[in-house]
Point group: C2
Chain length 277, copies 2
């Protein structure tokens, strides 16, 4: 039962964006020294580097590369921008393959200049366009629904139900869904939709952090597990009771933490992970 407290760090994964001030080389070294099991690498962290080399470095150090973050942003009112997004996603799949990570996180996109329905159609079309390449590369596309407060320009997919529907429509083992507690904790249908994703074999990843009261910034004020009101352990129980055996990925965007000492922050993450996840 997932509801039991965690006992070790073997399934703890940290996103490079969580410790943003650290370059990926430093993040790898620090995570390994702390006993963290996995890393999710953001594309920004690969800049100026060979993804093959970064992948080798992380694996040689003992980390599992859980995913590459992030592709998507398929919805644009201008057709040219939609074409560019598809090209960019093709490069992201190549990078994921080079990193030898099995999963590319997809933040679907939205455009305030068009309806959500239009954005959703463009998202489906964009995913359909890149899916053959993903299948060939063996890289799974993980659809991550975002909190409704990002429905204007980040994601027209705001509930796990919508992600599950999109997944069902695309009918490929190489498409899955991502449960991020920050985006989904408020949804009364969450447990049922996690059950459905488990049944359909599409639970691809599990992201954790917390919702603080008050939250002072829409983007960069996420909390450490235990600092907020999200029932993280309960939701972990739901995903694990429905067959998820992957990593628990700590994804925190926080100006406050980024401005703090990152070694101390990493220690706080390790403690919060066992106590509140």
């Amino acid at each position: 039962m997932g509801i039991e407290p965690l006992q070790d760090y073997s399934r703890l994964c940290i996103h490079t964006m969580t410790t943003r001030p650290w370059a990926v080389e430093e993040a790898v070294a620090k995570y390994v020294a702390a006993g963290v099991g996995g890393i999710t690498i953001w594309r920004e962290a690969l800049e100026g580097r060979s993804p093959e080399a970064v992948g080798r470095m992380a694996r040689d150090a003992g980390l599992t590369i859980v995913s590459l973050c992030r592709g998507g942003f398929f919805a644009h009112s201008r057709e040219e921008a939609r074409r560019q997004a598809i090209d960019e996603n093709r490069r992201a799949i190549d990078e994921a393959a080079a990193l030898e990570t099995p999963l590319l996180v997809i933040v679907c996109g939205a455009d305030p200049d068009q309806s959500l329905e239009t954005s959703r159609k463009q998202i489906r079309d964009g995913l359909g366009a890149i899916l053959p390449q993903a299948e060939e590369a063996g890289v799974r596309l993980g659809i991550e629904p975002l909190h409704p407060m990002y429905a204007d320009d980040r994601s027209a997919i705001t509930t796990l139900k919508q992600a599950n529907d999109m997944c069902a429509e695309l009918q490929s083992d190489l498409v899955g869904v991502i449960v991020d507690v920050y985006h989904l904790w408020w949804d009364p249908d969450l447990e049922g939709e996690i059950r459905r994703a488990g049944r359909e074999g599409s639970l691809a990843a599990f992201h954790i952090c917390d919702w603080k009261t008050p939250t002072t910034d829409l983007l960069l004020d996420r909390g450490l597990m235990g600092e907020g009101c999200i029932p993280i352990r309960t939701i972990r129980g739901w995903v694990e009771d429905n067959g998820f055996t992957g990593f628990h990925e700590v994804e925190i965007f926080s100006k406050t933490y980024w401005e703090s000492d990152q070694d101390e922050f990493l220690r706080q993450i390790m403690a919060a992970y066992l106590n509140h996840s």
Copy 2:
């Protein structure tokens, strides 16, 4: 068909909170001079005044008092706070009756120290506790679902479906639901749930404003109609096609607008109302 542009101000209502710098007396005078048809009065605006006298003044000036804003906040981990909330709501019903307005807006409440399920149960219990008094006073309780970004400490009711369910459970003509486009525009089930509310005779009020990109504050950065991405006219079409014939209530909380000249802001509201609602 509600989708036609509006031609006049007879169904325009403004919340006193929208022009917060104005005292209620000034707001009434200004709204009337501009040709606005209705006013929703916030309890803050009644402070130090007799609600009977304010109600008489607004009606004598020619305004319809659309609702009193707001009761609710039933969810608290401490029992004493729950009892106090019920007492406070009884006072709000008395004020609404004294104002002779038919509707009390209910912001349901939430407490980050307890689960959303517990908060929802307390909300239902709280509404049940005050309902007999509301029925006796002939004041309808309008359940307003809030945006999920307020699920931590303002409302455990975040979708129109939840509000409709709560309404169905309470089984009283004196309970209805409020559609505020700011809170609900992102929801893929919105049209269907508006249809259901129309069928059940529970569409009690319709609030408008806009969602700006970027939104820089979770509470006080609402936009004027047309400044953002909400399909206001489309949603108005849905409520009106499903039987709603009431006012279109402009409810904007905005530090920027509150710091601006309120006469100019009122002129902007009047123009935006016809052009974008």
